[in-house]
Every structure is written in C-alpha cells, then in structure tokens.
Symmetry: C2
C-alpha cells in the first residue's frame, strides 16, 4: 500500500463529568486525510483545505508530529506526503487536533503494515495533542481511533476500555463560531479542587458509566453534570446557560461543553429529540451576531474509516 | 409485628478509588440487633454486648438517633427497646456505626409496616453516620441496607445503584486491633486535591465500575488504586505497605484501606486466593505486639437480614 485516504470523525470528549477520561466520535463532521509514501525520508504537507490557520510546517502540524514519531520508531522506512481536508474547525472543542493526530496514527500504521496495537496508536496520537495543547490527553484521539464510547481509566500505563451504551443515544452539537484554544481552556481551570467537588465528580463518573452500561436513561441524565470544568469554561461561551437550559427543556438528557469548547453537546434519547434540542439551541442564537454550526448524530460505532 | 431481630453485615466502603460513593457488605462479621415496641414513647437501649465504648444513651447512640428520627417522622406511634450484640468492633473501618444505623433504619421500617423507600431508609441511616462522624455519608449504610455492590452516584438528591459484579469476587479483611475514629480519619484528609490526582481517581472509578460490570478482572485490578485517602490514612495503620505488598504477592487483585481503617481489605478472584491473601497478611503481623482479626467472605448479596 503506497497511499491511503481516510475519514476521521469529530469527537466529544469529557462528556460532562469525565474530564480527560472519556469521549465518543460522531458521524459528522470529520476530516479527510490522504497519506502517500515518498521514496525520500521527507514528511511534507502539501495541501490543507477548509482551515487557514493550520501550519503546513510538519514539525508544527499534529499530523506531521505523529507521522514523524511513528516513522522514526520504525527507522524511517519511507517519507510521506500528507493532504488534509478539514471538516472540523480548529478550536471548536470537537477534536480538530485530535482528528489530525488520530488520522495520522491510524493511516501511517496501515502504510507500515499494521504493526502497532491500539494502545500504541493512541500513545503516538497523544504526541500530536501534547504538541498543540501541552497536555498528553487521549479523550479525543482514543475515541477517534477506536470508535464507540471510549473510557481511558488510566494513562500510566495507558488503559483503554470500550463501553457498551444504548443504541438509542443521540448527540446534538451546537458550535458557536468563536475559537477557544485548548491550551487556554486548560489554563483557566483550577489546579486544585475541593475534595467535596471531586467526590461529586467521581460519583457522576461512576453513575454515567453504570447508566450507559445498564441503559438507564435516568441515571445517564442525572450523571451528566460537571462541577469541575463547566463552571469556569462556560464563561467563555456566549449564552451557555441559556443553551443548556433550552436543550434540557427540549428533552435532552444532559448538556455540557464538548471538550474545551466552545462547542456545546447534548445527549438525548432518540434522533427526534436530538433534533428538537438542536432547534431549541439554534433559537437561542438566532438574533446574535455570532454564527453557528449544529449537528445531530448517533455515537459513531466506528472511528477512523478508510475511504480508498 | 411487635419485635424484630436482625443481622446487619459489616461493610467495606470506598473500595480503594470510590471515596464516599461505593461499598459492599460481607458475610461475616455482623451485628445482631433486637427492636421491641414499647407502649410509651420512650426509646431505651437496654443491652449492648461485645463493645464497651458504645453509649446506651439513645441520643448518643446511632441506632437511637435513627430510630427517633423515623418514629418522630411518623408521629411517634410507639416507643422502642433496643438490644445490640456487636460483632463489628467500633473504629474498625468495616462499618460499625453504619451497621447500627442501617440495622435501626431497616428494623424500625419493618415495625412501622414497611412505609419507606430504599432512598428514604438510607437517608435516615445517614443521620446516624452524621451524628458520629460529622459527615453525611452513605457508603456503609447503603450497602448494609441494599446488599451487593452499591454505588451512590450522588447525594443531592440521593441516588442508589446496585452494580453487577463477578460472582467469583472474594474479599479478605485484615483488621489490626487498633482503633481509628472515622471523624479523625476524615480530618487528616487534604481538603483540596490537585486536579491531576482527581482525574486519576475518577479514571479509576470509571475503570472499576466498568471492570465489575464487564467482569474484567484485569481492569478491576488496575483500577483498585486510591491516590486520595490511602496515601494519608495508611500512615495510621502499622505496616500497611507490607500488608498490601504481601496481599498482592499472594494474588490479590487489589488491596487498600476499608473505610477509614484500620481494617485493610483485598479483593481476589476465587475463595482460595482470598484465603492465601489472608494468610500472607497474617504473616506480616505474626511477630507484632498488635492483635488482629481476619475474615474471608464473598460480597454479600443480601444486606440486613431478619433473624426472627
């Protein structure tokens, strides 16, 4: 195989209470990436469409960073030419850098003849995340790679768990067109948590995992609460409180910030409710100067997909 | 019904990572409690066997506190005479006050004609815990009342979830005969947690819940880690590190402090391994001046049981 073209889904990470430890991919939007072997040892990024502010310089581009680490690990058997069509806007909170990183890890592994385990691929992909946000987190790259609802119970060593979840769970994404850099969104977080908040958070984490696995919508709903990141990060998202309130009023099980925002996600039972939630959120922004994009999607069973 | 005699099991709370949000009862030891209606409105504790330092004064005794709250809630239809045979040593870390509180809640509800829900019973029982430790926690009383592996995802409102768990999971308890008061053990905890530790803890919580439900012993094992309470509380338990090390070397999936200690618990796959773990822990204390008690038990499917 000398060339591969893949689709890499956007991902919702954190999922309210699960800061840094869980996420899932959605069906749409996503990035398309092409990786083509070069006979020399160069890694070059020849084309980036759909985003103006992503560097083509491979040492500053997550796909370049991840590709280089993998090829060097294998003794640089070949170089690479990379093309990207960004469907996921950078700084959106739905895993733009995660998609670039995960897509590179998955595709380069194919070009190498499928030599790495899932854990190794996630570890390589985290190098991309680290290069851009300063934090080694897997809650976008792991679900983008594995598909489904993915748990990362521990980072040292890296552990990955695919959770069962109800087939009828749908996600609404509402993405106000402002940009929040992951690095900035991490820096405003409190570095210390009151024990009481931490207990509340891990109670919700436990409840969400049990709720998903037991298909208990009431438990999923009551567990979709974030007392750690949302109270701080929501201040960066215009009308967050109203978006959330309207989403819940329209029937969402829960609503919080996707990743580090500004995208807001809601989970609902059934596609129809998720559609109503989308409309309710759009209404909040209808008279605002700020544009938005919105999506309704199932939790994608599959992560990175081969296109050709 | 004018009189009821119940067995109330000891409980392991926290279960390493799940501080304040999970616990399970064991088969042995436990308390025996007798509740007898009185025609006047008095609550009197006439007999306490097996423990010298539990007050008979009903306003300072957890069973008295819980009984009074329930009877007052019902307009004091009768008074009570209470007898207790303590099989669970106070200050042991295996839910002595929790057993007194849960036993009272369960038995008085029976004498009242079964008028309360599980959540209401747990709430009444928490009044007993609060009276003795200053903290409204349900991770002993909920498993003592409900049986099985119980999760308390949230306290406000109180939520209770019974988790599936592998039938082959056995618990070893090693109880050094020193006393640690829950109140003191709570006071030495840090009131603030580094975000990084909190993330590690809720990753483990998520992993433990998923591991129990998926019957994944590897995941259960890797998730039985406590970076919050154990590093501090273990300092109060003589040779804790060696107990833990020997338990793991003997095949335990994990080992940590039961509740606020000094009892140490280990979980193992199979009763035979749990027995080896017990022997390994006993060996650590064989030349010490400190006495101990040890137990091997399945996770008790049932909580409070009626004896007559």
């Amino acid at each position: 195989m000398d060339e591969i073209k893949v689709f890499v889904p956007a991902t919702v990470s954190n999922v309210a209470c699960g800061f840094d430890i869980m996420g899932f991919p959605i069906e749409d939007p996503g990035d398309i990436m092409i990786f083509r072997k070069r006979e020399d040892k160069e890694i070059v990024i020849t084309r980036i469409e759909g985003a103006v502010d992503i560097p083509k310089d491979p040492v500053r581009n997550v796909a370049g960073v991840v590709s280089r680490a993998m090829l060097e690990d294998q003794g640089m058997p070949f170089g690479l030419e990379i093309e990207m069509e960004k469907g996921i806007k950078p700084g959106s909170g739905i895993g733009s850098s995660g998609a670039g990183s995960a897509g590179a890890a998955w595709a380069v592994n194919q070009l190498l003849g499928n030599v790495y385990s899932d854990e190794e691929l996630v570890s390589f992909a985290m190098l991309g995340e680290e290069s851009i946000s300063g934090a080694r987190h897997a809650d976008n790259v792991a679900p983008a790679l594995l598909g489904g609802f993915v748990l990362i119970p521990g980072y040292d060593p890296l552990r990955l768990v695919r959770l069962q979840y109800p087939a009828d769970l749908y996600c609404t994404i509402f993405h106000p067109q402002i940009e929040i850099r992951t690095r900035d969104a991490r820096e405003i977080l409190r570095k210390e948590l009151p024990l009481q908040d931490a207990v509340r958070q891990w109670g919700n984490v436990a409840g969400l995992v049990a709720g998903l696995m037991q298909e208990d919508y009431g438990l999923i709903s009551s567990s979709l609460e974030d007392v750690v990141a949302e109270p701080v990060r929501s201040l960066l998202i215009p009308s967050f409180d109203e978006l959330k309130q309207q989403a819940l009023a329209a029937g969402a099980l829960g609503c919080s910030i996707s990743g580090s925002g500004p995208a807001v996600f809601a989970l609902s039972r059934g596609r129809e409710t998720a559609g109503k939630v989308r409309k309710a959120m759009e209404k909040v922004y209808q008279d605002k100067e700020i544009g938005w994009k919105s999506y309704v999607s199932a939790i994608a069973e599959e992560g990175v997909k081969i296109l050709s």
